[in-house]
Symmetry: C2
Subunit: 492 residues, 2 copies
């Protein structure tokens, strides 16, 4: 027979549920624990209400819920009973109570490493990114209207149902035109697959090019998440030696002779993290090696637009003869990372394979965002925004260079980056960088850990400091604090 | 020496490029083909302009481009030359011309099946979906404003940089509250990971639960893309026998005795494709089996909100004692698939593993969409919309039932679906369904192929017809056309 104090007990527990659902829930508990066997008569709603000191209507609602769900059965005058057909299963479930178990225990095998959440910074901390843009600069008013128009137009036309996994056609066409006009890439809409930021482009490249055991080569210092992504696909990653102009083709060739290399991941336009642009002769050599050794090149051109010196150099993909380059681009840096719009450029065959993968991964992208961005490209707003943003970033870059020059020169040297939203500081090798990161934090400035750039165990004597998302004042404060952190390791 | 007619030739090719970039491109071609060796003097810009019948400024721009990129070197008075440092690499690339090769040849190994694009329908074709909503019903005006506010707020606060891979906190909190109030799920924001539609939820479940060679069981008739997703993760998929109430626990237990089953994928609320709701006693039995044989349950509750009879039954996850259920939900059906907002509910440990996967797959979701949806949930707009939409869908469901009853009764029988946006028609087994699909198309109505629901080779004598996204008029026309297609297979 029902013991009301247990109900009362369990009702205290679950603050989120409305009271009648809490009652229903706790009765389900009793049934599952076998303490209310099938056929057990339940107290009338008035009695239950009194026992639990709740409104009678609440008790009625609770029983209705349980009857609707099939837990209870009402037999008119005779009253309400635990449903007899539950007989077979009662008590089969484990006896411990709900609140003792998490919603989903990892009692079955669970794969993948858990995510480590970064400890939040103190308020007022200056966060040096690894080169993110300042979304305060985006034309949010224009974009907002474009969003609204895209939403209304698509919704009215019932076009917000499932669409093309390669992305909304207007955006693919706008991208094809832009790539042709500005980057010398001859691609049409069928050569383009819209993805959720360049990270998804890298992920798809890994899925399409790599099988467990394959070898993939990356710069010795590279974008850490790219290395992780190829490893997660089962690849053995190799490191290509670098000098101040980026990767050394001779070292790549040496490694090609040692084993079959399936793919090479590179950021030729603004090397990540060192910011240098790959010289044309190395580009030629790289393409020749791709021909000779049959590897694919994944060209990650994550912030092509932000180039300060001369017009940006054409991507490898635009001078690729052998069809070896898979080109990954992004609009996240140009607009805002939170919008998640990137793209892959490749042969129709490759793009169709991307589409097949996307159908399983996330089906398609966000149609409203894609159409809003397409409108900004067609209207020329995007180009105007890029020009405006470039002027701001160029000023910040100049200011940042002077700050570093004056405040950090004893510890760090740098070359002015030709493009991108970050500087690469070469640090005095006697500095303990792990300690620097801790000291910086204590001073109220946060820097991205350099060890992430290198393959396991390789020491890094450099620092990538993003300047794009910070105002001149924030940059000044940040460098001041970094200087104080560095001084703790004097005398140098 | 440069042969101008070749330049002229290649310049015809590339309609997308501005003329000066076409010239630059074709000179790069000549250099790469070894027909303009390093050190070769180029004609002056005036001469080049005359030869090519272009404006001289265009010729100057072309040379500037090539000099900037390092292909050419200018030596003041002496003129312009092919850069000598290219020596090492000239001619290394394959000799065939640009236009003969696709942008990216699959000359390296390419994995994954290419995507087959569906042939587009004739205009005026009635498309029966497998149960998508009508995005014409969504409160696009309210949502549009919410989008704009979210965009402006986040952009101004520079909050559109990279965020939490689990999704924007306000959305996770709104989801936790909703799941507690309406589905008896006690989850907080740390038990929830926002994903891009329920498909991504299934994809992540497969990544986290399955290793190549594991066994995963699904209903004999199920959501085809779920089966594909688990297979793509390397799982052997097993089929669980079904009766008119859904999967048979006895058959699942029989298979559990034969081999270790790692996970079971189910749609208990509205079985896909047959629409039936799993009875409570089978739910109990299923959970008991999960305890006993240690398999995980992936509960795909893709359209929980659209339930017509009584209040929807609590999900399995809400009565899960042993922590075996990984719950996948979606807002795509409630709002619009094109918005791509879904979620996974599980233990913090599982959610943290999801986050780690997401960092490699697409980094994070679309912050603007997530915040806009969160606002609709907080303001109650979402609930109001669901109530409005339910009334519309219920009327269409009633209308559709009468249509089928009157027009298709000789060929098909059905049970009124208690929920969801589709009917399941049991068809006369003598009907050739493949032929029916062809005949239907000829009549101007398109139906989703039933063979996709079944595991390879299993014959299906049913048809899933979505009614939600079609107006009463469209439903009437569609069923009349379907009737005509069916009549072609008379006499039955």
């Amino acid at each position: 027979m029902l013991r009301p104090w247990e109900l009362a007990l369990s009702i205290q527990r679950d603050g989120e549920l409305p009271i009648h659902l809490q009652i229903a829930q706790s009765i389900i508990d009793e049934i599952q624990r076998g303490r209310l066997p099938p056929g057990t008569p339940l107290p009338g709603t008035r009695e239950l209400a009194e026992r639990l000191a709740v409104n009678r209507k609440t008790a009625v609602l609770a029983y209705d819920e349980l009857i609707a769900q099939g837990w209870l059965r009402t037999q008119g005058r005779r009253g309400t009973f635990v449903a007899p057909e539950l007989l077979a299963n009662v008590g089969a479930a484990s006896p411990h109570a709900r609140d003792e178990t998490p919603l989903v225990e990892a009692s079955y095998r669970l794969y993948g490493a858990p995510w480590q959440q970064e400890a939040p910074s103190q308020p007022g901390t200056i966060e040096f990114s690894d080169g993110v843009p300042d979304s305060r600069l985006i034309p949010f008013d224009v974009l907002g209207r474009a969003y609204r128009r895209a939403l209304i137009a698509t919704a009215r036309a019932n076009r917000l149902a499932y669409g093309d996994p390669r992305g909304e056609r207007p955006l693919r066409e706008a991208l094809a035109a832009m790539l042709g006009m500005e980057r010398g890439l001859s691609a049409d809409a069928d050569n383009i697959c819209v993805v959720r930021g360049s990270q998804m482009g890298i992920y798809l490249a890994a899925r399409l090019l790599v099988r467990p055991g394959d070898h993939v080569a990356l710069d010795a210092l590279t974008y850490p998440r790219a290395r992780e992504t190829f490893r997660a696909a089962g690849a053995h990653t190799l490191s290509i030696a670098q000098d101040e102009w980026g990767m050394l083709p001779d070292d790549l060739e040496r490694q090609c002779r040692q084993q079959r290399i399936q793919a090479v991941y590179l950021t030729p336009h603004h090397q990540f993290p060192t910011t240098v642009m790959m010289p044309v002769e190395r580009r030629m050599r790289l393409l020749a090696l791709a021909e000779q050794y049959g590897f694919a090149i994944v060209e990650d051109d994550y912030d092509h637009e932000f180039h300060f010196s001369h017009r940006p150099m054409f991507p490898l993909a635009s001078v690729d003869r052998g069809g070896k380059v898979l080109y990954v681009g992004s609009l996240s840096k140009v607009l805002a990372p939170g919008l998640r719009v990137g793209y892959i450029v490749g042969s129709k065959d490759l793009i169709d394979r991307c589409a097949a993968e996307i159908l399983l991964i996330d089906r398609q992208g966000n149609a409203v965002t894609e159409l809003a961005v397409a409108e900004l490209m067609h209207s020329g707003e995007l180009k105007r925004h890029i020009r405006r943003a470039l002027r701001v970033y160029e000023a910040r870059r100049q200011h940042f260079a002077e700050l570093i020059e004056s405040a950090l020169s004893p510890f760090a040297s740098f070359n002015m980056p030709e493009g991108g939203l970050a500087f690469w500081l070469k640090l005095d090798p006697r500095l303990d960088i792990a300690r620097l990161e801790r000291d910086a934090r204590a001073e109220g400035v946060r820097i991205k850990s350099s060890s992430r750039f290198a393959d396991d165990g390789l020491a890094v004597h450099g620092l990538r400091l993003g300047f794009g998302n910070l105002t001149p004042e924030e940059l000044t404060t940040g460098i001041e604090r970094l200087r104080r952190a560095l001084l703790k390791q004097s005398p140098l």
